[in-house]
Chain length 147, copies 2
Amino acid sequence: MAAAAPSWVDLTLQSLRGEGFRNGGARRAVVDLLGRQECCLTAQEMFDRLRDEGNPVGIASIYRVLELLSEKGFVQRIEVGSGVARYEPAHHAGEHHHHHLVCDRCGKVEAFADEELEAAIHNVEGRTGYRVAGHDVVLRGACGDCR
Amino acid sequence: MAAAAPSWVDLTLQSLRGEGFRNGGARRAVVDLLGRQECCLTAQEMFDRLRDEGNPVGIASIYRVLELLSEKGFVQRIEVGSGVARYEPAHHAGEHHHHHLVCDRCGKVEAFADEELEAAIHNVEGRTGYRVAGHDVVLRGACGDCR
DNA sequence: CCCTAAATGGTAGCGGCTCTCATCTGGCGA
DNA sequence: TCGCCAGATGAGAGCCGCTACCATTTAGGG
Ligand SMILES: [Mn+2]
Ligand SMILES: [Mn+2]
Ligand SMILES: [Zn+2]
Ligand SMILES: [Zn+2]
């Protein structure tokens, strides 16, 4: 059988190591937390969860880690219109890649995935003149509870 | 021949009038400015342009107008990742409807349109359980100048 | 014209995020 | 194994987009 694919957490930390970064406690904690999420978190949510888990990390370090991970393409930064950035592990393709549905009224964020949509986006990318690094799709509306 | 379709500016102001709103000078100035744009502007850009045109409008009024226009669906609020909201006339379908390409490096925002993408999004909307009111697509990457 | 509720604009305040700097530490070389 | 030090961390000040507040102005029906 093939060797198990490295987890996103291991891949991320090892890649950074390979580039000469040091991976102190704050970065390891944030990467580990992100690796346990299904969908996006805000920086403040990460701060609160890490504190509650007994592994507090400074908010400045959280933002710094997220900036580095964004730059290197390991996390996707998502804006859903509330003025707060959200972050999640980036899966450029494959089973985990998804987009977001946001309730205009209660702010709930849910995930969806669609292959036809991905194909259409891929077709557009080739015609833009940009070297396209990623994409976001946000559907806005009223969730089942709010409509 | 058919009567000319009312402009977005006239449609917007008349619809608000019909709902009992009063359309003072600030609101007329902001709607008029938006009606002259090809793509999205920030609130601060609107403040500066209106001042430069000799028709200054308070920044608070600009945000208030944009909030009302957003609520009523006359403008689309767009977040492209820089922490600043942008706004443009909403065209839910038809020749003016488009999405955005953002350069990660220099921040430039350009528009693109694609029918196949719109069709794919429409197909997704039906399966979500949400009453979907709108959607955003942002492609991120490096523009021709920056790559 | 007048009246009144809606609209406006200056400004204080809020909150997310960034910057600065003193301190700490991962991990390499001796 | 141990000391070194560049990179990492965290507390707190500061920045900036946006909102709240309230005194003043004004749209527009009567
Ligand atoms: Mn996608
Ligand atoms: Mn569209
Ligand atoms: Zn909801
Ligand atoms: Zn660029």
